[in-house]
């Protein structure tokens, strides 16, 4: 928790320093208009100038459609998790103390699957919702998407841990669940991205290259046609690359969720930061590679910092305090009774 505060505060300082270096410190978003903003053109009677007015009521759609749908999904996630908990208790009743190993791991594995599954569905829904809101400016569009994504992911990613920590109150089980989620989610996510790049896009790129290779050989290497054909190849390759949409929001979301895992459950799994450090190094490499070779070029945008994510980070560092204290209070006591894994000692050290 101390670390999070230090991390957030020191970032503020560095952000300003980098902003200074890049001459971006006082940059203000010139309210870039979105390309797919659907508007009706009106002529103002007094000034005789055309004005754009949105075809739909953005605010009403945000409040009366966006929030209920998001809440519905959140309740669906909570409902599934309660069902999971029932399944777990029925397992314990059936086998008593001697739960087979695969059944001990199974709930956590299913949790990872559920997180992926719900995250995938909600991503599609959220994008539909936000584009239906018909935002005029890039900034409001992004804020709306960030709010929806984070509100949902906050519940989706951590709910199984909360239930185990505050309801089942089993420290060893919580640790197991956390390890499985953290390891499989991080490694799985990276592997998935890597495989998607190499298998799907990389294969298409090679196919196009092979198609053009024969024609390129026929032409003289210095001729105008050769250069033209090369350009054509370049364009065709760009066409099959992944479209550059709101990628940055998902990049941030991923990293912030990981930060949440580390800070909220710091006292449960001490190796989490080390593990995240290693996967992050890998992730930076994969992302850089992906952005340059497997994705279309992003439209360069200015910024004076990380924007709304600063507030999210501050929120995390605040919320982390009660969550950690509650875990130690409610769950730590259970560990003393069972006394395994030496976790009660950890609690003593931390307190």
């Amino acid at each position: 928790m101390l670390w999070t505060t230090y991390f957030v505060e020191s970032w503020k300082r560095k952000e300003n320093k980098i902003g200074d270096m890049w001459l971006m410190r006082d940059y203000e978003d010139p309210t870039t208009e979105r390309e797919d903003f659907r508007a009706a053109l009106n002529i103002d009677k007094e000034t005789l100038q055309t004005e754009k007015s949105s075809r739909v009521d953005t605010f009403n759609r945000q409040v009366y459609i966006g929030i209920p749908v998001s809440l519905f999904f959140i309740f669906a996630v909570i409902g599934t998790q309660i069902a999971m908990k029932m399944w777990q208790t029925s397992n314990t009743e059936e086998y008593g103390e001697k739960i087979p190993l695969e059944l001990k791991f199974a709930p956590s594995m299913v949790n990872v699957g559920l997180i992926f599954f719900y995250g995938f569905i909600y991503k599609i829904i959220a994008e539909k919702l936000v584009s239906a809101e018909n935002h005029r400016y890039q900034q409001t569009y992004e804020d709306s998407l960030i709010n929806k994504m984070y509100m949902f992911q906050f519940i989706n990613s951590y709910i199984s841990n909360y239930i185990i920590a505050y309801w089942v109150r089993d420290f060893a089980q919580l640790a197991l669940n956390l390890v499985v989620i953290l390891v499989f989610k991080q490694v799985g996510m990276n592997l998935l991205e890597w495989a998607q790049d190499k298998m799907m896009i990389g294969r298409k790129l090679n196919k196009i290259k092979a198609q053009f290779a024969g024609e390129l050989e026929k032409l003289d290497a210095n001729s105008k046609e050769h250069a033209h054909m090369k350009m054509h190849l370049h364009m065709e390759q760009q066409l099959v690359m992944a479209p550059a949409s709101e990628t940055l929001i998902y990049f941030y979301n991923e990293a912030i969720i990981q930060l949440g895992f580390i800070t909220f459950f710091a006292c449960v799994f001490p190796l989490a930061p080390l593990f995240s450090f290693l996967t992050n190094l890998l992730e930076i490499r994969i992302k850089l590679n992906r952005m340059s070779s497997y994705s279309r070029r992003f439209v360069a945008q200015g910024a004076s910092g990380i924007g709304s994510w600063m507030g999210v980070m501050e929120l995390i560092s605040l919320v982390a305090i009660p969550i950690n204290v509650a875990i130690l209070l409610f769950t730590g006591r259970g560990a003393d009774a069972s006394g395994d894994f030496g976790y009660s000692e950890t609690v003593n050290y931390l307190l």
Binding site: W3, Y6, F7, S10, W11, K14, E15, K17, I18, M21, W22, M24, Y27, E35, D36, H234, M235, Q238, L239, P243, A244, L248, F251, Y252, A255, L259, I262, A266, P270, L271, A272, P273, L274, S276, F277, N280, L281, I284, R285, L288, N289, M291, S292, R296, R297, F298, V299, A300, Q301, G302, A303, G305, I306, W309, F341, G342, Y343, E345, T346, Y349
Partner: protein, 111 residues
């Protein structure tokens, strides 16, 4: 002359429109410089000497724009900062293992 590109796409005159990548060499520069300076940069965010190793971030900023530049700067900063709790975490983990082994030893002695 003004083109309504959205209309042209919808009426299938144009297939798609997007900014294209520049030459391969320009792009591979980012990864090469990350391989060279990445570790020093992440450590630099921890010690405060990051300004000397900004090359990869500068390339990213020049190519993808400042918004992506700030994202990567933040991510590298976060990764570097993770070293602090990971050292503490590793220490706690070792202590736990040692305690666990001691406990098992004492239990065996009791039996």
């Amino acid at each position: 002359m003004h083109f309504d590109i959205g209309y042209l796409v919808k009426s299938k005159v144009i297939l798609e429109h997007f900014p294209v990548h520049s030459h391969e060499a320009e792009r591979s520069k980012i990864i090469t410089s990350w391989n060279q300076y990445g570790t020093r940069l992440s450590l630099g965010f921890l010690t405060g000497k990051f300004a000397e190793n900004m090359q990869p971030l500068n390339f990213i900023k020049d190519y993808y724009g400042a918004k992506f530049g700030f994202y990567f700067a933040w991510l590298v900063h976060y990764t570097g900062m993770l070293l602090l709790p990971s050292i503490v975490g590793l220490a706690i983990f070792v202590i736990q293992i040692v305690k666990m082994v001691e406990k098992e030893d004492s239990l065996e002695n009791w039996a």
